[in-house]
Assembly symmetry: C2
Homo-oligomer: 657 residues x 2
């Protein structure tokens, strides 16, 4: 086994047999943690986003946060209701992309596809950046090293995904369920403390928050309203993740659509409980986080020092409710990092699935379409890891910055999808193709319309409040990606038309005769082998050609050719400019000109070497010739490999190993 | 014409016809400036090296410099006398490499070759760094930008050389002759001023030079002696460059050897006049340069400031004799930059010639052997540019540092060559193969012995005084290069033995039968064409194979195969691990196992695209299959190109353009 193969085996694992494909389908209790972890894990950062945005208007403004949370949850519930319908209407897993393509046309489908690809990338970047934040709050040694922690996380998730989904499915139930259990427990304990009057103030409750410029009056007037909208649009990140389940229907056990719809229901219930609980306790403990600690905080009247670090809201609650260095705090950090890890993993299952689907629809390069030997879409996983790592590095693993990019893309996709669904139901009602009653259909369409209105409204709010804060980058990325998909789609489509075969196609006509040429540079075994191979195929004419780039060598070759009495004529091609390729091309063209319906086969002896560095020493002249010959019409290139000693040694080692 | 071709045409020029090869031979009056510019140009930096080394012992020590110069000149004259014999004994232009190989054996030849390659590289780096120094003394704007100036210079020389030697030959007579004329004039004027008592003191004469640690007693004791030896070994750089002429004999007109020997004579006379004149005037004007101005200089009792810049000795002389901002100073700088440019150019003609010769001797990769379409050795020129630029950048275009590396390599080569010549004359005397008298032979051998002693002595001095100052790097580079050459030589030799054909060689046996396989991935025109090409060659068996990586696609292909009624059976190869390559390889092996004397031809339809980005969209699956098939025995790979629309468009544009 090659070293590279060995490394691959250790990191990625043995190939999996097709028969085990069924084994990678997931029961609901495994599917929930895998596909809902994205949505659930947002409890680890969505409250922080709401609080730090409101904190721009001072501490008092933070009291509004549970109400912002309620609005976010209303959106979430509307969206989940709509998506439960969507998965059952389009159970193939193409979901948003398929809905938009079928109902709004291919360009809209491409746009939704592009938006979701960008979003999956940002889910990875956001989740691992948030995880790095939690790691740093538990282990102060990592403060300032968040970018490296996040990048390491991306690398680990990427590698695990290359091993295939099954492993992740089993392992992933633990952290997600643990996270939900720990946070619910924390909320319960907090509420009990609150009711018994023993709930402490958060460690950050005594920080003095300086309002931003022109915000010192608190949440009043237009500026205040805009700020609340901004907080809402940041908190809306809690809604995203829903689409992951709808894109992953094929991974569910049968009845797939029903199971996926159920999982969506559980997700809605859990999200509501978690988000509301956390936001309520945040207000009661007066926990605070701000966007920029250096400028916005005074601690005991002083600016925070060099190594100051803001523990995320969820961590602060654990510190307040269970004690600053209590075991529960560390347990909470551990399960939060775990669920964020699973969220990134969700994206790693969603992105390649979607990319493969887009590739099948000829909107992305074909190599993204196929599964590797462990059922994972290898190319898609590698691509996602690289792009997510880039985003993370560029934005310095700053969750707040990354979320600005993320939310806008998600709601763009939601809006287009719901617009598609409104059309879908209208068409179904018109054509009466469904078995359900007219009343039910009307109901479903209303749900879709309401969801569309909500999504569009949120999208506009998000766009308006975040465009200058980074969302423009998402818009540009989606636009470029859509454009690229259209170019690819156009290319594949035109190639498709070009290559279609019909029974009368002239491409089926056999060439009249075969002319064989052997390009000779020296009289050595590889050339002799090419000669025997060419003779074995019995062409109509067979001719050796020698380009005269060096008088002395030409004469030497001719001498040996005679001495060895090959039964093949050799033609010397003049090359006054010492070009070894041009004369061969001209010669081939002259043959083709004389008999355009004939086939010319050019035999090229090629050295095959066993060691990398040897490659540099051989075939240097053959490669450009081959490339040029590929552009000639009616020419086939036959490479006759000659294995040098080192290949045989390699083969021996392999057989022994 | 392609854009890349167009760019090449503009930068490098039209291809030159073989008939014009004679035109690139040079008359003596053109050969002198081309090949002697290396040696002559050292007047631009050798005096500086002597002065700045002696200055380590304070100003008084500099007075010794003309005497150091005299010793350098003695070495030069001995060497030139010996080399005049060498070129006549070995007129083929292999010179040092050939002499060492033939008389001391192939390993020594490789060592000399390696040393000379390293030296040519350093000539380029030293010359362009020195040129940058002169540019900065005339145009203060460039002070601190010397590295960029030097790198730009290397780029320009490299490009001009890609255009071929002839152009350089004509253009190059001007700067070299101008340099010699201007410096001789300068020396004459200086001597006249000196005799009439009107010679000024140099602008740097009043600088206070602080001696280095433990050197404050001046040139006394062992330390003083060592310093003089160091100064000598730096000044010995003036001797280098001689070897360039002897390596370039083939470029001279007939009688080549005689003309080359004559040119060597002129070179010796000119070098003597220039070097002695400059060193004498340096002493009389008390011009000073030091290694490290910040540490060694006091100007009016102060450390030199930030922008302080040391004008090279030759520039200082022009400033002193003709006036600080006189036209003559700028003329001198211009001609000096010109001659340094020519020196780099000399290396650019020497390096590729030598590399080509080493490649012919199978000590370097073959692609260094061949000439481009303008008679220049394209690959060698590109390689030299890159490595010289690396040296320049690493050593910050510091002439003093680079010279430490340069001199040791040159004298290493000189010593080995002269050792070879001593053996040569001994053999000639023994075998009496020469027409000349015994007396003359004895004379020639003595010259060789004396030169050997001189070279060896200088080499030891250089090695001892410079090893820790960078010369170790040269030694390591030469050793590695030699080692690499031996590996390459060994490889080519073993390949040579392996590939030799004799009339009874079993490789001449024809394969019994031909089995053709067509790898099918879809039923499209490219596959149909591959099918017709395969059928046209009438193999014994013909079979299409389809790897079943995706059930649905497989069935689709089989359906179409039947519909189009191809007269070729199709075999479906199972691939439970979704590997598209392995099953093909196994199938090929099973055919080979059944009939080991037969030939298997694998037909691969390949897409040829006209635009670079399209390449990413096609053939992704074919490439790895092709690579793997090359390692199979008894298999020939036939690629059947299919030109997509974009190729036809490309062809149309080309025909119109």
């Amino acid at each position: 086994m090659h070293l590279s193969q060995l490394a691959r085996r250790v990191l990625v694992g043995k190939p999996l047999h097709n028969e085990r494909a069924g084994g990678t389908l997931l029961r609901n209790r495994a599917a929930l943690p895998v596909f809902a972890s994205d949505a659930l894990s947002s409890v680890a950062y969505a409250p922080d986003e709401i609080v730090l945005t409101l904190a721009l208007a001072g501490t008092a403004a933070i009291a509004v946060s549970p109400w912002v949370g309620v609005v976010v949850l209303v959106v979430l519930i509307v969206l989940i209701t709509a998506y439960r319908q969507n998965v059952r209407a389009y159970p193939s897993g193409g979901a948003d992309f398929e809905i938009a393509s079928k109902n709004l046309g291919r360009p809209s489908g491409a746009m939704v596809g592009a938006a979701l690809l960008v979003d999956y990338t940002l889910v990875v970047a956001v989740s691992m950046s948030a995880a790095a934040q939690y790691v740093a709050s538990a282990v102060p040694w990592f403060v300032g090293q968040q970018v490296f922690v996040a990048l390491a996380g991306i690398a680990v998730v990427g590698l695990l995904n290359l091993r295939g989904l099954q492993f992740m499915g089993r392992a992933s139930t633990v952290p997600t369920y643990a996270f939900v259990a720990v946070v619910l427990l924390l909320i319960a304990a907090g509420l009990v403390q609150h009711l018994t009057g023993t709930l402490d103030r958060a460690p950050s409750a005594d920080y003095q928050v300086l309002p931003a410029a022109r915000m010192d009056a608190g949440l009043v007037g237009l500026a205040g309203a805009v700020l609340v909208l901004r907080a809402f649009s940041s908190g809306a990140v809690a809604v995203t993740g829903v689409e992951t389940i709808t894109n992953s229907v094929p991974y569910f056990r049968k009845p797939k659509a029903l199971n996926a719809a159920r999982t969506l229901g559980y997700l809605g219930a859990l999200s509501t409980a978690l988000l509301l609980g956390v936001l309520y306790l945040t207000r009661e403990t007066r926990a605070v986080v701000v966007m920029n600690a250096d400028e916005q905080l005074l601690i005991d009247g002083q600016r925070p020092g060099e190594g100051f670090f803001q523990v995320p809201i969820l961590g602060q609650l654990a510190q307040t409710i269970a004690g600053e260095n209590s075991v529960w705090f560390f347990v909470l950090v551990a399960v939060t990092v775990g669920v964020l890890f699973m969220a990134a993993n969700t994206a790693f299952s969603g992105f390649p699935t979607l990319a493969s689907r887009l590739a099948s629809a000829a909107l992305l390069p074909r190599q993204l379409q196929s599964r590797g030997d462990r059922f994972a879409f290898t190319n898609g996983i590698v691509l996602l890891s690289i792009v997510a790592a880039l985003f993370t590095a560029i934005f310095d693993a700053n969750v707040n910055s990354l979320i600005q990019l993320y939310v806008v893309g998600a709601f763009f996709a939601f809006t287009l999808t719901q617009a598609g669904m409104v059309r879908h139901w209208a068409r179904v009602r018109r054509t009466r193709t469904s078995k359900v009653t007219t009343r039910q259909l009307a109901m479903r369409q209303s749900v879709a319309v309401v969801a569309l209105i909500f999504c569009a409204a949120v999208f506009l709010v998000v766009l308006a409040t975040k465009l200058t804060q980074g969302a423009w980058l998402t818009i540009v990325a989606i636009a470029l990606l859509t454009l690229w998909m259209r170019v690819i789609g156009h290319h594949y489509a035109s190639v498709d038309r070009e290559l279609e075969v019909d029974p009368e196609s002239p491409v089926r006509a056999l060439p009249s005769r075969v002319h064989a040429l052997i390009v000779v540079t020296s009289v050595r075994k590889p050339v002799v082998r090419a000669l025997t191979y060419a003779r074995a195929s019995r062409p109509a004419t067979l001719e050796a050609v020698l380009v005269d780039t060096d008088r002395a060598r030409t004469e030497d070759v001719l001498r040996q050719w005679q001495r060895l009495e090959f039964p093949v004529p050799i033609t010397v091609l003049a090359s006054p400019y010492r070009d070894s390729i041009g004369p061969v091309i001209s010669h081939v063209r002259s043959i083709r000109k004389k008999s355009p319906r004939d086939l010319v086969i050019v035999y090229l002896p090629e050295y095959v070497v066993g060691r990398g560095w040897e490659r540099f020493l051989h075939n240097q002249a053959i490669r450009p010739l081959k490339a040029r010959l590929h552009f000639e019409r009616g020419v086939m290139i036959a490479s006759v490999p000659w294995h040098l000693e080192s290949v045989r040694e390699l083969r021996l080692t392999e057989n022994q190993g």
